[in-house]
Structure formats: structure tokens, C-alpha cells
Amino acid sequence: MIPNVAPAPADSAPATAAAAVQPKSGQRTAFSKVSASRLFASPGGVAGVVWLAALVVASLTAQWWLPYKTEDQDFTAVLSGPTAAHWLGTDELGRDLLSRIFAAAAGTLGTSLITVIVGVGLGTVLAMVAAGGDRTEGAISRVTEVMMSLPGTVIILAVIGAVGTNIPLIMAILGVLISAGIYRVILGQAKSLQSQLYVDAAKVDGVSTLGISLRHVLPGLTNTIVVQSALIFAVGMLIQAGLAFIGFGPPIPQPSWGGMIQGASQHVYDAPWLMVPTGAVLALTVLAANAIGNALGKSPNAGVSHLPSAAARRQRGRVVAAAVAATGAAASAADTGAIPAKGHLSVRGLSVGVDGGTPLVTGVSFDVEQGTVLGLVGESGCGKTMTALSLLGLLPAGVSATGGQILWNGKNLAAATERDMEGIRGRDIALISQEPMRALDPMFTVGYQLTAAIRRLLKVGKAEARAEALSLLEKVGIVDAKRILKTYPHQISGGMAQRVAIALALSGRPRLLVADEPTTALDVTVQAEILSLLRSLVKDSGMSVVMVTHDLGVVADICDNVAVMYAGQVVESGRTANILDNPRHPYTLALLAADPHANTAADMPERLATISGQVPQPKDWPTGCRFMARCQFAGSACAAPVPLLSSGSEDGLVRCVKADELAVEGLEWLATEVPTHHVMKIVEKDLA
């Protein structure tokens, strides 16, 4: 007899769980907030929580509201269906089902919680210990492998044979068996957290291994732990019901879900209803636990990937095409007089924004003549990558071109449908990205990926594609092309991978190459080689390049023209030599002054020039000059919108009202940091 043993651990369990999982209350509040908001964001999660809470409350208060005692027998209504007296009907002894289901709930939930605490607790502790050191990991992993190979059912039956149906003990042993699986799940994550730089920083501080585990590793595991707990909770309930079903539940008069289902199974033909209430409650409870696990496990931004799915792009393409076609129609009607040259890109007043919200790029215009290289320069958050991706119709989900034109061979790409873009992307316009390894699929050989792209883009046969792949690799300067074709991406160096990525981009014989920071992840010596390669490709094939970069040295090396971007606008554009040697916009001036490459060792300044503050967020863009708040030369005139005007040198343009004044005075960007309030004072003075 184990009367009322179940509710006790149910009461004490949450406290122990909280203590084990979250040693610091401060972190806990921050964390549970995140989990809670995620939990209530999905209808499944809400329903699960409501159901479980109702069940717990109902069973804990059962003695006050239940219409009958669990043992009360009503021989006038044996095996009855739902009636006014017995809402859910009665069993073969005339006992009220409703009363029995709810009276049994607390025991079932409470003992399942024991499995969760033991299983997840032990698994987590083992994983954290193992993640701390190589040797302990080896030992613990071997032990858990042995545990996983043990037949769980046999062990549990053996325990029952030895100590009887002590449900809490059985559930605890089940927890120990399950902990091996939990350990496997958590170990990987604990190890990746252990390799974070902040863990290194803590080690340098001399924080103890235990301190690191508790303060830096455990909080990062919370999410997995919570999700696993919800799932193990459901598993515990099912196994417990299963044990009761085969006769190893609580002693006979005491109600248990598994025992009730077993009882019902004997009356499946004469009283089929008997199975329904208990089965439904058990199923709903397991579903509720799984729904909570699902809701908690969902990554907060799982839906937002960097590149949108083709379907999403097609969908958006239609909407945007209509919008942009409307704005562009008038302009293109005016433009039709001039027939654009082949391989000429002309971007006119391009705007890109979050759908139905903040603009990210506004009124960007530039031209790329055939066989030239245009540099798009600026700091992160200036919209240069968004501009580049819009040329390929590859803007991330939820972002689209909201106005202006991208004229490619006379066709407006900003209004093109996804189907049109599929014909242009890869064939006319190709992309190389910052991380060459990301452009290559680790599961396939370089040769497979190259030939697949060539066959698709050029519509040629296998042998022909292979020959083309070899010649492409030779073209990008790979000496032993035959060997490289057979390698997998992880077997080649970063520089080699970028060459392969360029070969891949060239496979459709594009006329325009969009290169998004193509050398940023590479060593300088490799960068120099890749830039030389790009230069020779441009010279030999007459291809044009739009090069997105933050490195002014790269601009000086390879770009014919440059457009400097700041906060979603072009602030200065023109010939590279003019702009770098004689910058007219204060932002360009400041960038050059802040660049340690601009100085040689002999004239290296004591302090580098800096730009105070940071690039404003798109929602904070002022109506006037967007650089004003950070500019050392800002005046009252800067508060009004500033047009892009001729800078007077060749076809250079500059967006600064003071450009001429600054050019005459020959001002330099000062190395001292000018606090923002000082700038504001200047502005006020000028206004007065």
C-alpha cells in the first residue's frame, strides 16, 4: 500500500528542479521571461499549459469537488455511459469515471515528474562534467553507452520483482535509464558553449571549472533542458500507464490511468465507452506535454532565413512587380529614347525596405559600364549588401525593392518576376559571397557542383560540362584542376575555395559579377591573388563587377569607380582616384583618416581619427543629412534634406551642402573625438 505517496514529490519537485537548473535567481528571471514569451506565442503551447494546469488544479482539489469517492460503487449503474449522475459514466463496479480519472491525475503527473527530474538532472550534470574535460568525457560516454544498451523493460520488471510496485522508485530508475539519452543530446551543446570565447575569458580570470559550468554553460542549456523535460514528462506518463496496464500499477482499489484502461480493455465489446474518457485524458495530457515542448523548442526566428525560399520570392515578386512597375513606368517611358549598351547596369533611385515599414536603402543611383569595376563602400549597416543583393533579386525574406529601377540591358530588374530573375541569375548576373565555404555544399565534390551548375546553365552534356569545369578551374588559376575536381570543399584551403566559388559564379558566363566582400575572410597574400584574378577576368572577358567592400585598400586596388554609402544613401560617388585622393564628403574624409593603412610607419599618428557615435538605425534616420550628428563640420544648413550634386571633378557626385566650402578651406578630419553635444552646440549656434 502506498497511499497518497504521489502528491508529495509533486509538491517538492518544482523546488528541487528549479534549484538544480537555475542556481542564480537573477539569471533565472531573465531566462524564464524568454521561455514564457515563446511558450505563449503559439496556440499549441497555450492550450498545453491550460490543459496541464487545469488537470493539476483539478486533481489537487479533487477531494472538495469530486461528486463521488474513488471507491464508491453504484450497482444501479454499472458500465453506464454518460448520464446526469455520472458525467463520464461508470466502470464494471459502478465507480464514477470522472472521480477516478481526476483522483488518479496527481499521482500520474507527480511520478512522471520524478522521471523528468532524475533523467534530465542526471543527464545534464553528466554532460556538463563531460564537456569540461577530454578524459572525463571519454569515461562518461562509455558508461552511458553501456546504459543505453541495457534493456530498460527487463530492468524495470526486475526492480518490480525485487521491491514490488513502488511507483516513485520505478520512475526514478526509469529516469536513470533515460538520462543516458539526455546526456547525448545535451553534451554537444554543452561542448559548443564550452568553446565560446567568454568561457576562455572566464578561464583567464581564474574562474573554477564548477563556476564556469554553472555561470556560463548551464544558462545556455536552459532551453534544451526545458524542451527535453516536457518530452520526457510525456514519455514518463505513457510508460507509467503501460506498466499499470500490464498490472504493475498502484495497488488495486487505488485508481490509475493505466489500470483503468486495462479494466476498460476487458469490456471493449460490451461497453466500448469505458475506454474513451480515460484514453482521451491520457492522450490529451501527453499531447499537451509535447505541445509545450514544441512551443519552447521553436527557435525565436526560425522563420527568418537569410535567403528567402523560391516560393516566398515568387510570391513577393508579384506584389513588388506591380508596385515598382507603377513607379517605374513613367521613368522608363522617358528613357526609351536611348538604347542602353549591352552589359550596362544602371541603377536609378533604388529604394529597398522592410515590407510595409522601414526603408533600408533610399534613392541609390549608379552606373556600371561594361568591363569596369564599381566599389560599394561603407561601414556595416549602410545598406551596401542590400543594394548588391537587390541586383540579383535575392533580398532576404520580408525585404524588397520598394521603388526605383535596376536597368540591365534595358530591362528593369526591380520589377522583374521571379521567373525572369531565374533566367538572369547565374547566366547574366552572378554572385560571389564573403564566405566561399558557404557557396559550396560540403556533401558534394567540387567537380559535381561545378558540372551540375554548368549543365543547368549552359544546357550541355556531361562530358562537355566536365571539360568546361576543367577549363574554368584553370581560368581561376588552379594548377592541378583535375585533382581539385575530385575533392570535397573541406579538403581545400579558404583561398582555393574562393577560387572555386569564383569558377562556380563564372559557369553561366555572366556579364556582371556581384562580389559581396569576396576577400574579407582571406589572408592578405591570398586577397592580393584573388584581386589579381578578378582584374584579369575583367580585362579578358569584358565582364563588369560590383564589389561590395569595407576596405578602402581593396577599392584603391581594383575599382574604377566607387560609390560611398552611408545610412542607406550614396553620399559620394565618382572615379576612384578622385574620391580617395581628394575626398569631398566628410564621411569619406573621416573613413580615410581612420584607416591605419592610409599611414606609413614614419607618419603614423599618435591617435587615429575616429567618427563619434555610430551609424544610425534606419528608423532613426533624420530628414536632413544622415551624417550630421557625427560630422565635425555640421551646421544649421545640414538639417534640411541634402541632394546629390556634382562635385566638380569629372562625373563625381557628393551629398554635402558644405562640400565646396570644405574644399576651399582644405579642412581635415580631426583626430580628437568630438562629443555629440559639442556638435549640437555648433548647430544651435548656427541656428541662432
Binding site: 567568454y198 583567464v204 561601414e379 597574400t525 592580393a528 584603391a556 610607419a601
Partner: protein
């Protein structure tokens, strides 16, 4: 100001006694067992020293072992040979307790401002951690954290915020604040500015320079960008595949490099002046340095011999000894 400048560039305030940090014949191997012993070492017999108030720059390509050296000094990576001594004390195999006893004198700023701060800890908790484990009480630690934040140019209120609420540059300032909060003497900066934009990079470099001058700090400044190193360092050590190719005064090494690898490295670093860059490009192409080969050079010879335009049979057979060429110390048979 001018006196300071002279001091910084010519004679670093020399402590006559032992250097701040001395690394001698350091060897680091990754992995364990026979296979690891057969593979070329990640760091292969590197020696250098840092005096008080001096900044030494460690430059090289990825895989040159520069970060590994930093990790070995910080005790994050076991060394297989050689010694590391801090103020004359051998710390090559110091344990956590011994490192704690160093009293936070040896600290680090890491590359990635996104992962060097625990996203789940408030800035205040992150900054206070090194103080708290040394027994400083909460209120004092918080006060110090606020003062340190102010020093690196952030508002005091930042203590209660979380890393995600700051930009990359601000986070790197916080990482600097964390490194300096227990008044260290030597800070290892591992690619501390390479993830930042130009203007914020300049802010952090200025901050590091100011703090050095103000507190007499020594830095080991690890970076792949020789121009950035040139701004901060008085001496530069150039690494290639775990070995020192050239070391010496920053100006000498970056302006008139003697080793063919250093020459290639300097020539490949682009400058934002188109005309000059065109000249550098010509120079680089005329050097005739070969593309990095996948296969490692023979263990007995010079590690750079496979790419070196000057290499002869001697270079593949015999590892060049270090010798003085001008102001620099160069490991090349033909420099």
C-alpha cells in the same frame, strides 16, 4: 606630448630587471598520441619577450600559430615544450589556482565581440566576475564596473544591460573594460579589432593606446593586419607556419622588411591611395611569391621555402638560423 612620443617610439621606459613576459622556444602541438607528434607543430620553437610598457605585435596569416601562442600564454592551450615566464616566474604549466594568484595581472581581449561576452549575463555581472572571484564585494565591484565603463566611453547605466543591446564596437569596449578592471600589467589582444568597422576600429585602437600610456600596460597584440599592428606596436614578430621569420622594431620590419615572407605580407596589404597601390601591386607581382601549396614544406627546411622566390636546395634542407640583419632579427639564408 612630444616627450611622450619620443619615449614611445625610441626608448621604451626600460625596467633594468627581467622582462614582463618571456617566451622561450615555445612548442605547441594539437592532438595527442603518435599521430600528433608526427604532424608539424602548430608553434615550433618561438621565442620573444615583452618589456614593461611595451607593445609587441604578433603578425602572420591564418594557421601561422599566432593565436595559439596567445592561448598558451593565457593557459588555454597546453604547451609541448619551451618555457613561458611572467616577471621571471615560470607559468608554462600553471594551474587555475596559480593563475588566479597572478591576481588578474595577465588578461585578454578576444576577437569576436559577439561571443566574448556571455549573452545571458548583464554587462555588470560580466565585468564584476573577475573581481568577485577575488573576493571583492558586490557593491564595490559594481562601482568599479561603472567607473570602468565610463573610462571606455560608455554610460554607467550600461551595467544593467545585456550584450545584445550594444553594437560590435561598444561590445569590444566592454571587453576591454573587462580585461582592465582588475588593473592588469599585461594584456593579450587576440585580433581585438579585426571584426570592427573602420571608424570603430580606430576608436578601440585609440582607447588601447590611451590606456597603455595612462597605466603603463604591456600588450601582446596579435593581428593578421600589419598596418593595425604598426599603429600600436613598438616591436613586431612575424610568424609563418609556427616559426618566427623576422622580428624587430615596428618601423624597420614594416618599412624595410628583410625576410621574403615579410616582404610579401607588406606588399600584399593594400593602401587606400590608388597610385601608390598600383606601385605596390607591381612590386608584389615582381616579388614572384608562389601561391600557398597544400602540402607542408619539408620539416628540416625553411617553412616558407615552397613559396619563396629565392629558395634554393639549401632552404629545403636546412632550417635557417636567426641572425641580425640591420635592426631586425631574420631567419633566412639569403636575407
Amino acid at each position: 606630448m612630444s616627450i611622450e612620443t619620443a619615449e614611445r617610439q625610441d626608448t621604451v621606459p626600460v625596467a633594468p630587471e627581467q622582462p614582463m613576459l618571456e617566451v622561450k622556444d615555445l612548442v605547441v602541438r594539437y592532438g595527442r598520441g603518435r599521430k600528433a607528434a608526427a604532424a608539424p607543430a602548430a608553434v615550433d620553437g618561438v621565442s620573444f619577450s615583452i618589456r614593461q610598457g611595451e607593445t609587441v605585435g604578433l603578425v602572420g596569416e591564418s594557421g601561422s600559430g599566432k593565436s595559439t601562442i596567445g592561448k598558451a600564454i593565457l593557459g588555454l592551450q597546453k604547451s609541448a615544450g619551451g618555457t613561458i615566464s611572467y616577471q621571471g616566474k615560470d607559468i608554462t604549466h600553471a594551474g587555475a589556482a596559480e593563475r588566479r594568484a597572478l591576481g588578474g595581472e595577465l588578461r585578454a581581449v578576444f576577437q569576436d565581440p559577439n561571443s566574448s561576452l556571455n549573452p545571458r549575463q548583464s554587462i555588470g555581472a560580466s565585468l564584476a566576475e573577475p573581481l568577485r572571484i577575488r573576493g571583492v564585494n558586490g557593491a564595490v565591484a559594481r562601482e568599479k564596473a561603472e567607473a570602468m565603463l565610463e573610462r571606455v566611453g560608455l554610460p554607467r547605466e550600461a551595467v544593467d544591460r545585456y550584450p545584445s543591446q550594444f553594437s560590435g564596437g561598444q561590445r569590444q569596449r566592454i571587453a576591454v573594460a573587462r580585461a582592465l578592471i582588475c588593473e592588469p600589467k599585461l594584456v593579450v589582444c587576440d585580433e581585438a579589432v579585426s571584426a570592427l568597422d573602420l571608424s570603430t576600429q580606430a576608436q578601440v585602437l585609440n582607447l588601447l593606446a590611451d590606456l597603455r600610456d595612462e597605466r603603463g600596460l604591456s600588450y601582446l597584440f596579435i593581428a593578421h593586419d600589419i598596418s593595425v599592428v604598426q599603429f600600436l606596436a613598438q616591436r613586431v614578430v612575424v610568424l609563418y607556419r609556427g616559426q618566427v621569420m623576422e622580428s624587430g622594431p615596428a618601423a624597420a620590419v614594416t618599412e624595410s622588411p628583410k625576410h621574403p615572407f615579410t616582404q610579401a605580407l607588406v606588399a600584399a596589404s593594400p593602401v587606400p591611395r590608388p597610385a601608390e597601390q598600383a606601385e605596390r601591386r607591381m612590386l608584389r607581382e615582381s616579388l614572384g611569391v608562389r601561391t600557398a601549396a597544400a602540402v607542408a614544406a619539408s620539416p628540416g627546411g625553411c617553412p616558407f621555402s615552397q613559396r619563396c622566390p629565392l629558395a634554393t636546395e639549401l632552404c629545403t634542407a636546412e632550417r635557417p638560423a636567426h641572425r641580425q640583419v640591420g635592426a631586425a632579427d631574420v631567419a633566412c639564408h639569403y636575407a
